[in-house]
């Protein structure tokens, strides 16, 4: 234990209180590895700076409290320091003497950014008997070795800190000042709009970051001209949030004039005439609530319902990968929690799109983080939030394409379970508006509007306030008490404070009633927030419940008992007005109808011109081992075990088909299955499908391929084909451009056709537009048109589920579904540097029949393993089955059901034709299987062997692939062996 070397105590005046700030530094003891420091050193080497020899990391705690040295030593020893591995130092330790040149770097959270550790330390010091006034935490790094100032700066910026949320102090300087902020004094602000001309309206929208276009601004102007007054700032902000693309999806609901290769088609409301229409026409009785609430709700069993929502958090994740993805998953978890009267979250899904992680630093546009850093940060954010919430992350995918460099995509999904009798809200006039959970800070202001705009190289600085910081434990505590309050029936309605914060939560819940809110009552993280900031802040981990006055005491007790803060901030009225007050003074009054129905209807132009594409002419080869190995190790196909294992996929004890299965627990499952109720063997299967590269050829077939893939995956594990519910998540570029919007319209048309063909309704969806990055040089990188299809279905008996790993030597192997000459957009073409033209199509008559056939065979227990053919085609599917089972496969392409134009060996091996399944059947089940496959395209292509070799012969019997399964597996695993 080191003693206080110098009196570094800092007095700080705030009012009349004089509080000491104690500074603690906690280092590892010598002999105990500094894991974090080691990781930083690795990252520095990766950055190309070789002169740093070692990195020492330390945690720093700045505690303002009136305690004496003796107690400070106790706090250091008993609370902040591990007795075995660590030692603490009170005050500021200098550079270690007698060593190489040392550079000290400290990373502090910017003022106002949530500091969850500080909150826990406050609690713990209170447990020790003293109340601390304020706690802040920081990280300290001692870099040993000769580095220049600019190198230190680079290390700080690229590795140690994120400018959006953190401040860096280099050298032995004082820490940034403590964020004690002055209380806010009411200053009612009007933003005059009535007299502005069009330029003025556009300028006002831009200046205030409203992201409202001219037509919308004119509509608002007219409304206030009619009212005969000017709007206040909070009124315009509320309108901007409520009318944002993020919240109302005005593009997808617009009327569309589309030109398809010269022909005109028209939609009055795109979404209603495509995605919604299929759901309506299918009219499945098991759909309980679709496209209405925070998540889509379907029946699970007699008593329970399942709800599912997938959201994107793209722009925040580009700025702050860790915080962005963490709040992405944290936010989507609150969707099921805020659906109906609240569901209990039971599974997470995560799908990401990044630039390829081996990019050179100099090839990264300004204002963009390196894709490897984005990927590591995004994975860590989802990991830390999902794991801490105790929700298993069971399904996911990662897709790489350099067009995601400036604008990565982060899809986060959550599934919840709820009582069937509690699927609808019923807020009533006179109900109290109670805010539960975290406090409000300046984090996440303008998130909804920001996410609806285009990213630029300046966003890093301009929109740092849009980044939110999550605290999963606050959310978990809130979940724990809300479940109890729900069971006790103590509230009438619930919704989350998502995009738009209180503004959207209260605005939506009170849409048909009216509401009045006293903004000064809302609890704040720190003083100084204006009424507008309180109203629109997207500070995380908050929900709003509508409570009858007579239930207030009971519900408050449930919250209080577990230290969850709740506050009555207003009440629902019956005059259809939204009234905002601050200390009794009216600061905003909006007509609910204008707020929710006033957004102008759009008409948009869309254009689709079929691209003129050709197929490459590649020489045929005698052997395709190299191609198979190359595809297996390509980013999109390679094992994602590095990511999957960082997620807890088994918490809650319901896992049945885990993301990794097989003899060594490392084969890639097609879909996840969980058993959500302890007393029932009924299961829930979750899968997804996506292939943006097909969209470069034709987004219609891309969308159908995504639907077919999600359905294949879910059928492979044994889920019911007639209980599949789908979710759509469109991520697109700037849809005001007809040539960008056209592909979206085509994809939406495919959603209708696919849903109708498979009898699988869409139950929820979301779109994220303007996924573009404006580079400093004026060029724009638009993401490829990206449609994620997620699927859920039910499993009658989880004990009958099937996994993809080859089970036993001697078993027969079949391919069901026809292989066609469809190498367009394939991984085979990609490794050859081509894209091609023959994109995989879906035979909408045959595909559902095949899915049902496979499903019957699994239900009848005649299938022991089943794997879908997708990226990389048949060869990859066979390789994965073989190495996942630790067994060999002998296959003969003569048995492959292939179309007439698919005679080339490379096409048979690598074509990515849809609706194909590889199925393993025990020899004595041959007849039963063949009978079930009657009238479907299927063929026996080989058998499982104990030779540990994948052997594929072409039509004349010569081997075209012959590789031992260990080398195939190694190729597949080495890419992300990070």
């Amino acid at each position: 234990m080191q003693t206080c070397q110098a009196d570094k105590l800092q007095d700080e005046k705030e009012g009349t209180d004089v509080v000491r700030q104690w500074r603690f530094e906690v280092f590892n003891r010598s002999g105990f590895p500094d894991v974090h420091g080691g990781q930083v050193l690795e990252d520095i080497k990766e950055l190309g700076i070789s002169s740093v020899e070692a990195v020492q990391s330390a945690r720093v705690y700045l505690i303002e409290a009136d305690f004496e040295e003796g107690f400070a030593q106790r706090v250091g020893r008993e609370l902040l320091t591990d007795p075995v591995c660590e030692q603490h130092y009170i005050g500021r330790s200098g550079a270690p003497a007698g060593l190489a040149r040392a550079t000290l770097i400290e990373v502090h959270l910017k003022s106002g950014v949530t500091d969850p550790v500080a909150e826990s330390v406050m609690t713990a010091i209170a447990d020790m008997g003293v109340k601390a006034k304020h706690v802040r935490t920081a990280r300290k790094y001692v870099l040993l070795g000769e580095i220049s100032t600019s190198q230190a700066d680079t290390i700080a910026k690229k590795i140690l800190a994120n400018d959006c949320i953190e401040d860096v102090v280099i050298g032995d300087e004082a820490e940034p000042p403590s964020p004690h902020l002055k209380p806010y004094e009411l200053n009612l602000v009007h933003w005059p709009i009535r007299e502005l001309d069009d330029d003025g309206l556009v300028a006002l929208s831009k200046e205030k970051d409203l992201f409202l276009n001219l037509v919308e601004m004119q509509t608002i102007q007219k409304h206030y001209q009619e009212l005969g007054r000017e709007p206040t700032d909070v009124e315009l902000e509320t309108l901007a949030q409520t009318w944002s693309e993020h919240c109302v999806h005005k593009t997808l609901k617009s009327s569309v004039d589309m030109t398809v290769d010269g022909e005109q088609i028209h939609f009055d409301n795109l979404l209603k005439e495509t995605v919604f229409k299929a759901t309506e026409q299918l009219g499945k009785e098991w759909c309980i609530s679709v496209f209405a609430d925070n998540a889509g709700v379907v029946e699970f069993d007699e008593d329970s319902a399942i709800c599912f929502k997938v959201e994107t958090h793209n722009h925040p994740s580009a700025l702050d990968p860790y915080g962005g993805s963490a709040t992405g998953i944290g936010g989507v978890i609150r969707d099921p929690m805020g659906t109906g009267l609240g569901a209990r979250p039971i599974a997470n899904t995560d799908i990401f799109c990044f630039g390829e992680p081996d990019k050179k630093l100099e090839d990264i546009p300004k204002g963009v983080l390196h894709p490897r850093r984005i990927m590591k940060g995004v994975v860590a954010g989802v990991r830390d939030y999902g794991n801490r919430m105790g929700i298993p992350t069971v399904n996911g995918a990662i897709y790489f394409d350099d067009r995601y460099l400036g604008n990565p995509l982060v899809y986060c999904g959550n599934i919840g379970i709820m009582d069937k009798s509690k699927c609808f809200k019923n807020p009533q006039s006179g109900n109290l508006i109670v805010m539960v959970g975290g406090r409000i800070g300046r984090d996440g202001i303008h998130g909804a509007t920001f996410s609806s705009g285009q990213m630029t190289h300046e966003h890093e600085t301009v929109f740092s306030h849009a980044v939110q910081i999550g605290n999963p434990i606050t959310e978990k505590k809130m979940l724990d008490v809300l479940v109890q309050a729900n069971e006790a029936g103590l509230y009438e309605a619930i919704t989350d404070c998502g995009a738009g914060g209180l503004s959207s939560a209260v605005g939506e819940m009170g849409q048909n009633l009216g509401a009045e809110v006293d903004l000064e009552k809302a609890p704040l993280k720190y003083a100084g927030l204006s009424y507008t900031e309180i109203w629109i802040s997207e500070a995380q981990e908050r929900m709003v419940v509508a409570v009858k006055p007579e239930n207030l005491a009971a519900i408050t007790k449930i919250f209080d008992d577990e230290n969850v803060e709740s506050t009555v901030v207003g009440r629902f009225t019956d005059d259809k007005k939204l009234r905002l007050r601050y200390n009794g003074e009216l600061v905003g009054e909006l007509d609910m109808e204008f707020l929710h129905e006033g957004v102008p209807k759009y008409s948009r132009k869309a254009l689709w011109v079929s691209p003129k594409l050709t197929e490459p002419s590649l020489p045929e080869k005698d052997n395709y081992n190299d191609e198979l190995l190359q595809i297996l190790s390509s980013y999109n196909v390679a094992s994602k075990e590095w990511v999957i294992r960082q997620y807890d996929h088994e918490v809650q004890g319901g896992s049945v088909v885990k993301p990794l299965m097989g003899v060594a627990n490392d084969g890639p499952s097609d879909a996840a299955v969980i058993r959500p109720k302890f007393d029932s063997d009924r299961g829930l299967a979750i899968s997804c499908g996506m292939n943006p590269v097909y969209g470069d050829i034709d987004p219609y077939w891309m969308a159908l391929a995504g639907i077919d893939e999600a359905i294949r995956n879910i059928v492979c594990v044994g889920a019911q084909p007639d209980r599949i519910a789908l979710l759509d998540n469109f991520c697109w570029g700037d849809c005001t451009k007809p040539e960008t919007f056209g592909p979206l319209v085509r994809a939406a048309q495919a959603c209708y056709d696919g849903a109708m063909a498979f009898g699988a309704p869409f139950i929820s969806g979301k779109d994220s537009l303007n996924n573009e990055f404006a580079c400093e040089d004026g060029t724009t990188i638009s993401i490829p048109s990206t449609l994620l299809i997620s699927a859920i279905s039910m499993v009658d008996d989880v004990n009958k589920c099937v996994t993809m790993d080859a089970k036993k030597a001697g078993n027969l192997l079949f391919v069901v579904g026809e292989t066609k000459n469809e190498l367009g957009g394939s991984h085979y073409y990609k490794i050859k540097g081509h894209s091609g033209a023959n994109v995989p199509k879906v035979d909408l008559g045959m595909a559902p029949r095949i899915a049902r056939g496979i499903s019957r065979a699994i239900a009848g227990s005649v299938v022991v393993s089943c794997h879908d053919c997708s990226e990389g085609g048949l060869a990859v599917a066979l390789a994965e089955m073989a190495f996942a089972g630790g067994l060999g496969i002998e296959a003969d392409l003569r048995g492959l059901p292939a179309s007439k134009d698919c005679s080339r060996t490379d096409a048979q091996l690598f074509s990515e034709s849809n609706s194909r399944y590889v199925v393993e059947v025990e020899p004595d089940k041959y007849d039963a299987f063949a009978k079930l496959m009657l009238n479907l395209p299927f063929g026996q292509i080989g058998k499982i062997t104990d030779q540990k070799t994948l052997l594929i012969r072409e039509e004349d019997g010569t081997p075209v692939v012959e590789a031992d399964i260990d080398s195939l597996k190694q190729a597949w695993q080495k890419t992300f062996d990070w």
């Binding site: 020893r77 075995v84 826990s120 088994e650 627990n665 004990n799």
Partner: protein, 266 residues
């Protein structure tokens, strides 16, 4: 037959309480999940139970260090109550985060001088970051090392999942490790399928001497990093679809033994 009652402690960030309660019920106990605030408010309520379980999760976000803040809370509010619980001959189980709490509160490995607890800051054993530097969910084989611990079936190797970022057991100096061994505190070691110790991933976190779990001098307190409550039925096994005729999950042995002991002795 006497009813065995178990209490599963809840706290901010604890998240394995429901499946732990379920496992105890499968083993025949009457289990209840109770928030720590309730127990602190009425410490005598612990008298109603024979088994106290600290389940897994991320208590208080694992802020400062895994289990640290909850351990601090236990030390300052429940130290005597837990001591009495153990001294009364009852059972305490800590799983994952619960194990971290027991170690950081000085309850495990416990003092050797007959006391059931040691001052936490004098502890010579701790649990720290995995060598891999990251959270990992993977399955491990565990070989029991003691016949003193009532939760453990001697000689039966079991297969369970781990899911943690801080699971590496370390001692301050070699002598402390020797003492753990000589005093028979080591409950489980990570081994391979054939029962041999090994490097990563056999030993998933780099734990000293492959230690996966510890017991105290009474053998009635067990802490372990792996999750027995996550393998209580066959379809939880990571390749159940390849196996034939698997009985109860391996994790049930721990709960069954605890309930059996409590039923017969308490």
């Amino acid at each position: 037959m006497a009813e065995v009652r178990a209490v599963v402690l809840r706290a901010a960030g604890i998240n394995c309480d429901m499946e732990t309660e379920h496992a105890l019920e499968l083993a025949g106990a009457e289990a209840k999940r109770v928030h720590i605030n309730k127990i602190i408010a009425d410490k005598s309520s612990l008298d109603d139970y024979q088994i106290l379980v600290f389940p897994g999760g991320f208590s208080y976000g694992d802020d400062v260090a895994a289990g640290k803040i909850l351990a601090n809370q236990v030390m300052h509010h429940l130290r005597e109550a837990v001591r009495k619980f153990i001294d009364d001959g009852k059972l305490v189980l800590g799983i994952c985060n619960g194990f971290q709490v027991l170690v950081k509160a000085g309850i495990l490995p416990g003092a050797t001088n007959g006391e059931s607890q040691t001052a936490s800051h004098d502890s010579r054993v701790t649990i720290t970051y995995n060598d891999s530097g990251k959270f990992e969910d993977r399955w491990v084989y565990l070989a029991p090392q003691t016949d003193r611990c009532v939760f453990i079936e001697p000689g039966r190797q079991i297969y369970l999942p781990i899911a943690h970022a801080e699971g590496k057991v370390v001692t301050r100096e070699p002598a402390a490790l020797e003492e753990l061994k000589s005093e028979r505190h080591v409950a489980f070691k990570y081994v391979d399928k054939d029962g041999k110790e090994g490097d990563y991933p056999v030993n998933p976190n780099g734990s000293t001497d492959s230690i996966a779990g510890l017991t105290d001098t009474t053998g009635r307190v067990l802490g372990l990093m792996p999750h027995p409550e996550r393998f209580v039925r066959p379809t939880q096994h990571p390749h159940w679809s390849r196996l034939e005729g698997e009985a109860d999950g391996d994790g049930m042995t721990i709960f069954n033994n605890a309930v059996k002991y409590a039923r017969e002795n308490l």
